[in-house]
Amino acid sequence: MFEKTLSELSQALHAKKISSVELTQAYLDRIERLGEQSNSFITVTVEQALVQARAADQRIAAGEAGPLTGIPLAHKDIFCTDGVRTSCASRMLDNFIAPYDATVVERLAAAGMVMLGKTNMDEFAMGSSNETSYYGPVRNPWDPERVPGGSSGGSAAAVAARLTPAATGTDTGGSIRQPAALCGITGLKPTYGRVSRYGMIAFASSLDQAGPMTRSAEDAALLLQAMAGFDPRDSTSIDRPVPDYRASLEHSLAGLKIGLPREYFDQGLDAATAAVIEAALDQYRRLGAETVDISLPNSGLSVPAYYVIAPSECSSNLSRYDGVRFGYRCEAPRDLEDLYKRSRGEGFGAEVKRRIMVGTYALSAGYYDAYYIKAQKIRQLISADFRRAFEQVDVIMGPATPSTAFRLGEKTDDPVSMYLSDIYTIAVNLAGLPGMSIPAGFVDGLPVGLQLIGGYFQEARLLNVAHQYQQVTDWHRRAPGEA
């Protein structure tokens, strides 16, 4: 049962082979039994899940169910959930219970999905290893000594460990794709504006985007279908019809032009990982696709530009955590300044503080032009690189990460080396494009992710390209052993 895809579960539910309550209970039991191994959940919402499951069973019985009704899922703990703690994996919000649902949560609940709980993550989504969480690191189900990636590490590990059939994630610089790659699952970051950000706690507003984290492209299509769409509460969401993502899954890839950016295959890429990616590309050639060498000449500037823009926005976005209205407040503040300093000093972890300081500096008078404005110009150049590329090719492919999952603690003392683990994913956020990571093989028993990048609003194309690959490979079906 834990190996079933979303559509298989949907069929079983509709055929009354299993009830949503039974399915939900099975997953809750599994989380109870195995959850601690990966530490992938911050909160498990047992009672609420069963209430939702019973309601889903009634909908199914009444013939009012959709394709996702009754299927459990987990939300990254960055999405506000009415009445349930939303911590963002920070001490700052350890006591925060949102009085409303994020649009993503609302939409998936409306589709009849059952929330199992809230998954672990890097604090305020700042990290690439899930080691910055106030609730402790998440462990990679393929090797508990290794990181699951981040920041959506809990979601990726939970899906990989079969603790949930699917999860939501968010991706600011690779936070869906990088953990999906390191945990061997399928993750999609949609075009900026495709999914509402309302109720999704902001890290870097111009880059943040929510997306599905699943075991297959077909599952991602189903989940995205319910998540995507215009939201009048988010001014940056785009009012554009949502296509039927499943309708084009079976399209042939004959004649598909795949661009291979030479910058993604340089010396920074681990040789064994490169071999896995090459093999995947061969598979695509066998499916009728053609590969074309391309260049994204400004790729090398994406990490530095990102580490100006994202911290700048975060320094402002996180100003609201001041100990005044909600969240952590220090003990017995002497005065207002003391309240601010200690509440923020004690409430935030080291990486969050580092980024707030970097961003505050970059936005300061006298530095703004040299950093923030320059980074915005680089952002334009990076977008232009992609625009030119998509004049030649249909999709771009490359590795999602430079190597497989690294060891816990390996990069915690070296922020720059940690930042470079997102080197292949960050440019996609800067350009606002959709990107995916799909399982493409293993190196020493650890998963390797193939990254797919599409033009604006080409999610259907990416899902089609990923799905066709998954029809002729079984990497995405491999499960980590239950250690």
Binding site: F79, C80, T86, C88, L93, F96, A98, P99, Y100, A102, R197, Y198, G199, M200, I201, A202, A204, S205, S206, P232, R233, D234, S235, T236, S312, E313, S315, S316, L318, S319, R320, D322, V324, R325, F326, L336, Y340, T360, L363, S364, A365, Y368, Y372
Partner: protein, 490 residues
């Protein structure tokens, strides 16, 4: 302003005052600029602050279209450019009544730029004041320092209230000019119905940038900014105090420090709040939660269509159409309500614009001011006043009786006709009847008659008064004059 006439004994230097104003006009939108919460004034603390206003995690701003329309209206009314593209920016600072830790404002690209306004000077001339820009922004909440036993209470009802900040060029040269400009903007925003102008509730307030320089000098002196002036009188007094302070400082060998100052209305002085060195670095940057605001030609044109007749145009029309003096036209167009009131009176009477103007400016405004009311609360509406004036025009009553009728109307005794009827105030216009009364008056006052005929002309008024007394003021004054003159001559 000069330094020499002051009692301090300085004689030499002639000073020029330079003033620029930043006016904050609260836009008359029903809901907040970035949320659906109500903007109504006076609710219980923190009952009109929704999740967006509280800056809860995950919430996002959505721009209120009405605020954009209002800002565009203002821009068009002052002949400014309404930007096809403007950008919202975050102004970052920490304060307990600023929930997000930043205020959403407009910085590099405001919605309105390069406008101007004419003000009238005391010598009868006029002067153009440049309007650098006007931008949309959200208001902060309120910090309440009283009633909390040494602690501070925060009321976030005002947080997110839409504001239009109107920034002038440093074109004003005296406190009086600054007040004239502020009054002109005040009248304009009320004409446009984009701000209720209520200064007590803080809907209309300003910061004044003040500096002085030797006459003839082209470079500006160091300026200070006086914050949060919420009455015309405070603006005038604060600027005057600040000018004196700066001149005194320089003349006694000191230097003006660039700083923000607060006006203490009780003490009538300004005092330092923070200096430039302590000034905050607001780290402005474009708000990534809001797309640039793009307005097309059609939108701007549609707003232009809704512009009412503006004060200057209305004043000119009142002068040409109604033959009013510049002064009368100026008074009657000072607010849109008053101008509308006046025009309704004229329409009801069907003419007599000067008589109507005298009544509106005299009896009506006198009574309104005496009662401390605003025009909309006035108990005599324009149709009622017109009905009264009609009875003067058609000789039913005299002007003097009309004043009594007006008082009765003000007291709520009904329409003019009903009061005239009930009190029997209808004018006596029957010549024979008037003649009879005059004969009686002359017969009753033989001594005065003798004196008059001996050349004491002034006694004519005495006889008129006696006739009026005998008729309780109801005799037609023209007829009384005419018949009396004949009789006295006879």
């Amino acid at each position: 302003m000069t330094g020499k006439q002051s009692a301090r004994g300085f004689i030499d230097m002639q000073w020029e005052v330079v003033i620029g104003l930043e006016i904050h006009a609260q836009l008359a939108c029903k809901s907040k600029i970035f949320s659906g919460a109500s903007t109504a004034y006076g609710a219980l603390p923190n009952t009109q602050a929704c999740a967006v206003d509280l800056g809860l995690p995950g919430v996002l701003p959505v721009l209120n279209r009405q605020a954009v329309v209002m800002a565009a209206k203002f821009g068009l009314a002052v002949g400014a450019t309404v930007a096809r593209r403007s950008v919202f920016a975050r102004k970052n600072y920490f304060y307990p009544d600023l929930p997000k830790g930043y205020q959403i404002s407009q910085y590099e690209l405001p919605i309105v730029e390069h406008g101007s306004l004419e003000i009238e000077l005391e010598d009868g001339g006029s002067k153009t004041i440049g309007i650098t820009r006007a931008h949309l922004e959200e208001d902060a909440g309120k910090s309440l320092h009283e009633d909390f036993h040494g602690m501070t209470g925060i009321d976030l009802n005002r947080a997110g209230t839409p504001l239009l900040e109107i920034v002038s060029e440093p074109d004003m040269r005296s406190a009086r000019e600054a007040v004239a400009y502020m009054k002109k903007i005040h009248a304009l925003v009320r004409y446009l119905e984009i701000c209720d102008g209520n200064m007590q509730e803080g809907s209309f307030r300003c910061d004044a940038n003040v500096s002085v320089r030797p006459k003839g000098e082209s470079a500006f002196g160091t300026r200070t900014e006086i914050k949060n002036l919420n009455s015309f009188r405070f603006v005038e007094r604060a600027i005057e105090y600040e000018v004196e302070r700066q001149i005194h400082l320089i003349e006694s060998g000191g230097e003006v420090v660039q700083e923000t100052r607060l006006y203490d209305a009780d003490k009538g002085e300004t005092r330092s709040m923070r200096s430039k060195e302590e000034a905050m670095d607001y780290r402005y940057f474009p708000d990534p939660d809001l797309l640039p605001l793009e307005l097309d030609e059609a939108f701007i044109e549609s707003v232009r269509q809704t512009l009412p007749e503006l004060p200057d145009a209305k004043k000119a029309r009142f002068m040409s159409e109604f033959g009013l003096s510049a002064y009368d036209a100026g008074v009657l167009t000072a607010s849109r309500e008053l101008a509308d009131y006046y025009e309704t009176v004229v329409a009801t009477v069907g003419g007599e614009p000067k008589l109507c103007a005298n009544w509106v400016m005299g009896e009506l405004l006198g009574a309104v001011n005496k009662a401390g009311l605003e025009l909309p609360q006035c108990p005599v509406n324009a149709h009622q006043l017109g009905g009264l004036i009609l009875r003067i025009v058609d000789n039913t009553i005299s002007g003097k009786i009309a004043k009594a009728v007006f008082e009765a109307m003000w007291a709520g005794e009904g329409e003019a006709d009903a009061i005239i009827e009930a009190k029997g105030l209808k004018q006596v216009t029957d010549s024979a009847a008037i003649e009879k009364i005059i004969d009686q008056v002359l017969a009753d006052n033989p001594r005065q008659l003798e004196q008059y005929r001996a050349g004491k002309d002034k006694l004519f008024g005495f006889f008129v008064g006696q006739v009026m007394k005998a008729t309780q003021g109801k005799a037609n004054p023209q007829q009384v004059n005419q018949i009396l003159r004949q009789k006295l001559q006879g």
